[in-house]
């Protein structure tokens, strides 16, 4: 099930986002919000594979979007077409399909874009609002977003000529409640750094919208067996540990604590 695929392409799509296309040699299907565990093959494998949300899959080719932050992502960035790469997945609970008449607000921050982007491509409707926030103008992967996405940046530096972005946090892109159809249920789907998820959850709570967040925990196995990625969940069934990889990564924002561990969260 850890399939050995072959790198088809691996290139920068913005100042710091890399897109990796992997040919798995057999058809690959997924549901938006799911992820894969990725590793080098053979002696290049790290002890743990790394989780990456699925950006897209066409036929046998799986696409990921990543930023280099450490050893594993540096090794990914060093891969060239033809290199073997190990892929386990699709894994995890996806974002739900939209209900009838639902208006969906998509919030993606940084490399949190893939799951919401995939959702929007699969289920998005004309009334939905897709928002993306980046650290800088240079970081925005315009080819993926096209004109359909609202974009915010912390710092407009490097913004491509002719492109527009709000300066500020991504939640400033969200329309007021009054701008949305009054009778539609509104659902927020968010993926990105914790401050983004917290802002999304707060905004949704204030307006009575449902909010689903995709969480990140450093993972060991990615398929629910090691209990290395637990998040504290409190819902109707009581308080308990859930695995981010198997019970998540998508959770109802109302059920989870969105403080960072060192801020008093899961520790």
């Amino acid at each position: 099930m850890a399939v050995i695929g072959v790198v088809a392409a691996n290139r920068l799509v913005s100042s710091s986002f890399h897109r990796l296309d992997i040919d798995l040699g057999r058809p690959f299907t997924f549901r938006p919000g799911q992820f894969v565990m990725v590793n080098g093959a053979g002696p290049r494998a790290l002890t743990f594979s790394r989780p990456f949300s699925i950006l897209a899959a066409e036929g046998s080719v799986l696409s990921l979007l990543y930023r280099v932050v450490g050893r594993g992502t540096a090794e990914l960035a060093a891969m060239a077409p033809g290199d073997a790469v190990s892929v386990l997945g699709p894994l995890g609970e996806p974002f739900p399909e939209p209900m009838a008449a639902q208006v969906t607000i998509l919030l993606g921050g940084g490399v949190g874009l893939p799951p919401v982007h995939a959702w929007w491509r699969r289920w998005g409707r004309p009334g939905d609002v897709a928002c993306f926030g980046a650290r800088s103008g240079a970081e925005v992967p315009w080819d993926l977003l096209g004109d359909a996405w609202r974009v915010s940046v912390d710092d407009p530096d490097g913004l491509a000529p002719g492109r527009r972005a709000e300066v500020g946090v991504v939640t400033t892109l969200v329309p007021e409640a009054g701008e949305l159809p009054a009778t539609s249920p509104v659902v927020v789907l968010a993926c990105g750094p914790l401050p983004l998820l917290r802002a999304a959850a707060a905004l949704a709570r204030a307006r009575g919208w449902r909010c689903l967040v995709s969480l990140e925990e450093h993972m060991g196995c990615g398929y629910g067996v090691c209990k290395g990625c637990v998040v504290r969940v409190a819902d109707g069934a009581g308080e308990r540990n859930a695995t981010c990889c198997h019970d998540g990564p998508v959770f109802d924002a109302a059920d989870v604590c969105l403080l960072a561990p060192r801020e008093g969260g899961s520790a």
Partner: protein, 308 residues
């Protein structure tokens, strides 16, 4: 790899472990494959499942009461291994008995149940309950006593490093487990593992498993503090293989009890090293987290070798 010229183990012959015959000599290690169920619908490219050829799945250690485990983060990757501080998070013995073991039986997964407790005398009642509740199960082959988890605050460490305590745990379980295999999993964090193995042997185990994780620590450069809230974690993976091989050799030659080798096994080459030293079976731990089929691949590669 091809069968080495010196190989003499007959992989085709029935593998007897105490009162049971097991379907194979390559197992998954406790804690690295959950309760053995999360991967049941995974399918390899050739259509085989993750249990193909496995001798046993050793289930995640269960304790008399459910445990929520240690604070996060619980895992740190190191240069060629990992530290874990899961803290024996588990559903508890009764829930395991009620829901997990029957499902493993229903799915035909060969199972060794890993048990831990904070007092030696707790092992007797747990073994008896198992014997009562699951004596009709065809796929439940035995019990592995986890006498060695370094992550449990209340004693874990010293617990398993005294030959006396090892003997008491084993004796308590053995008395209630007449028709299943009994293993004791030993700690490497001791100067004399052969003494622990000898104690387990004399108290009636059918085999010992060696090794559990090695006590380790890693520092977060960003904070200057240990990565893990509990400071120490259990070190596993490729890095500990030479330590595991040394401990297995000490037990095989120093205590003369059957040994199941564990520690840094990811490939058939790794497994063969343990068999070469006289291990009767091997377990795949950390490598199983990276690839749910790791043990199955080892089993497939080695399974066709016979001594003839």
């Amino acid at each position: 790899m091809k069968r080495p010229g010196w190989w003499s183990l007959d992989m085709g012959a029935p593998f007897r472990l105490g009162p049971r015959v097991l379907p194979g000599r390559v197992w998954t290690a406790s804690g690295c494959f959950g309760y053995g169920l999360a991967a049941h619908d995974f399918v390899a490219a050739d259509g085989s499942g993750p249990y193909a050829g496995l001798g046993a799945v050793v289930t995640k250690t269960v304790t008399p009461q459910p445990r929520t485990g240690n604070p996060m983060p619980r895992l740190v990757e190191t240069a060629c291994g990992a530290l874990n501080s899961i803290g024996l998070e588990n559903v508890g013995f009764e829930a395991f008995l009620a829901t997990v073991l029957p499902e493993l039986e229903a799915r035909g997964v060969p199972t060794i149940v890993s048990l831990a407790a904070t007092r030696p005398d707790d092992f007797g009642p747990m073994a008896r309950r198992l014997h009562e509740a699951a004596s009709g199960f065809a796929h439940w082959h035995g019990v592995e006593l986890n006498l060695s988890c370094p992550n449990v605050a209340e004693g874990g460490h010293d617990f398993g490093s005294s030959p006396d305590t090892v003997a008491r745990c084993v004796a308590a379980a053995r008395a209630c487990l007449p028709d299943r295999a009994l293993l004791a999993k030993l700690t490497p964090n001791t100067a004399d593992i052969a003494a622990l193995a000898a104690a387990a042997r004399d108290a009636g185990v059918d085999a010992v498993a060696a090794i559990n994780t090695v006590v380790g620590l890693d520092v977060d450069l960003a904070t200057g503090q240990p990565h893990l809230p509990r400071r120490f974690g259990g070190y596993s993976g490729a890095a500990i293989q030479p330590i595991a091989l040394a401990k297995v050799d000490q037990v095989v030659r120093g205590a003369g009890v059957p040994v199941v080798g564990v520690g840094g096994i990811a490939s058939v080459e790794d497994a063969v090293k343990f068999f070469a030293l006289g291990a009767v079976a091997v377990q795949v731990g950390t490598a199983q987290m990276r690839d749910p089929f790791a043990a199955a691949h080892v089993a497939a590669a080695i399974g066709q070798w016979s001594s003839s």
